[in-house]
Amino acid sequence: MKRLLAYSSIENIGLIFTGIGLSILFAASNLHLFAALALAAALIHALNHSLFKSMLFLATGSVLHATRQRSLGKLGGLIRSMPWVAALALIGTLAIAGLPPLNGFVSEWLLLQSFLYTPQLPHAFINMLIPLGAAALALTVALAAYVMVKFYGVIFLGKPRETLLAQAHDANWLERIGLAWLAAGCIAIGVQPQLALDAAGKSTGMLVGQTIAPNPSVWRIAPIAPEQASYSGWIFLAVILCTIAVTFLLVRLLAHGRIRRTAPWDCGYPWQTSRMQDTAEGFGQPIRHMFGAFFRMERELPAPTDLTPKYRVHIEDRFWRALYQPIAAAVKRLADAISFLQGGRLAIYLLFSFLTLLGLLVFVL
């Protein structure tokens, strides 16, 4: 559970660095306005990330506390026993999945906006590569949404996978408040991103000498120019809520509100148990299937005749092995190679100092 969130942190840090990198590129080409935009996106995303990530960590903490269960595969259906945590965690989940009108969307939107202006960079080659970067970004964000649906769905929705879970108690007041103010932050920045933009504008003003274009109104943000792109969290929230309310009223007025509780339909299959739901692994199966090339997978699938069917899958990241491990090993080797510099002998240290002095003296001569 926490592992998933930790990986998600890496993803978000990646997004932040994407923004910073773009900003440096823009700044180096003297496109200060766009540099400011990309930087603001990165900064706001950092803020947002701290908000929703700490919120989700707290929420998993509450779940852990209530259920003593760390594994995603043994949770489920907590929305019924822990409605408060579930409701607040939903906000965090939607925010981290980058959905409007919450805060995660705002920063990702700004980041995509700054990607749009890359064609103005004076390097034709980079220009052609960067749109692919934007696509990768979109893919990442959408994939994050996928994973967060899995995260939320497996923990809070469905049927409890263990019988004990039904007795899980909801968070106490203190925990609720802790979660609630973070959720409030997510919503506030989502619908009123001007707050964050103004704050970020100060930093960008300091760093790239340019703030983002002043906002046309308090109701929406338009980082470059209102004709080019704008976004209003207020309208999003307001219209959706109004429509929901109006529709609800109309449905109530025009149709009857009768409800019959029955067993789940599930295409008429009556013998379902909680074990028939997707597990976290099951939910992620399409991704494993599609990105199979990137992983090293060992699978043990049950044969149709097995009396005790067993399913096991072990996944290893190929990139980890092929890319990061060699780099890490190289860094380690280099670090070992230079360790003689700190060999413990004072005489050698003095010699370094001596040689440095002589070298510099030769240099100035």
């Binding site: 360790s339 510099l341 060999g343 413990g344 004072l346």
Partner: protein, 229 residues
């Protein structure tokens, strides 16, 4: 240089020769220190170096007519010829280290390196000597050589005490450089430097005891545990 200094003309030929002789003595002592194995001898050499420094400073003070430099010379006498050697002698006696010998890195090679250093520092000091207006301007190269030789000595030493003597010898070279290039630093600063030096030696003295207490020896090769493993 155009601004041909008055005091150089006033200077008697003999005094210049004397100064050069003293400077040569400094250099010689530095080489001697580089090759000496016995700690006690080193301290004696250090005291001699201080004495030469005192003499040359007095000489310069006399020739240039600067009272300030007399003070400086007096400071050198008290500190470097009397106090520090005394402290060091007492220290090694109390540490029982007066008969210590130490193995050195190949002495001929060290000497050779030292020679190269001397040539190097002469080359380095050349432009400065040309600019200098002092009577002692030819000795700047030697002062620099003394500094570098002391540095070399610190590198080659393996005992705490001798390393400190190298450090102090370097300080002598610095004083020598100060008098030869500029007739000494301003008084306040000289005082400050002397004070720092004195305190340093006291602290080092305390250190010697603590080191011996902890390591049972003043050998520096015991102190190589802090490193990248």
């Amino acid at each position: 240089m155009l601004r041909s200094p008055l005091n150089v003309q006033l200077l008697s030929h003999l005094d210049v020769e004397l100064l050069k002789l003293l400077a040569a003595g400094m250099l010689l002592i530095s080489f001697a220190m580089l090759s000496t194995r016995r700690t006690q001898q080193l301290i004696t050499l250090f005291a001699w170096q201080g004495a030469i420094l005192f003499l040359s400073t007095t000489l310069v003070a006399h020739e240039a007519g600067l009272t300030e430099l007399y003070f400086s010379a007096g400071l050198t006498l008290i500190l470097k010829v009397i106090t520090l050697p005394l402290i060091l002698h007492t220290l090694i006696k109390r540490l029982g280290a007066q008969w210590d010998n130490e193995r050195l890195v190949n002495i001929p090679i060290t000497m050779l390196v030292g020679l190269v250093l001397v040539i190097f520092s002469f080359g380095l000091a050349q432009p400065i000597s040309l600019l200098a207006t002092t009577i002692t301007r030819h000795t700047i190269g030697i002062a620099l050589a003394v500094i570098l030789l002391s540095f070399l000595m610190m590198i080659t030493r393996r005992k705490a005490v001798t390393q400190v003597i190298g450090f102090l010898a370097m300080e002598n070279g610095l004083f020598f450089a100060a008098t030869s290039a500029t007739y000494g630093m301003p008084m306040v600063i000289e005082l400050g430097i002397a004070l720092d030096l004195l305190v340093a030696v006291f602290i080092l003295g305390i250190f010697f005891f603590q080191i011996r207490e902890q390591f049972d020896s003043l050998d520096l090769h015991h102190m190589e545990s802090l490193r990248e493993k």
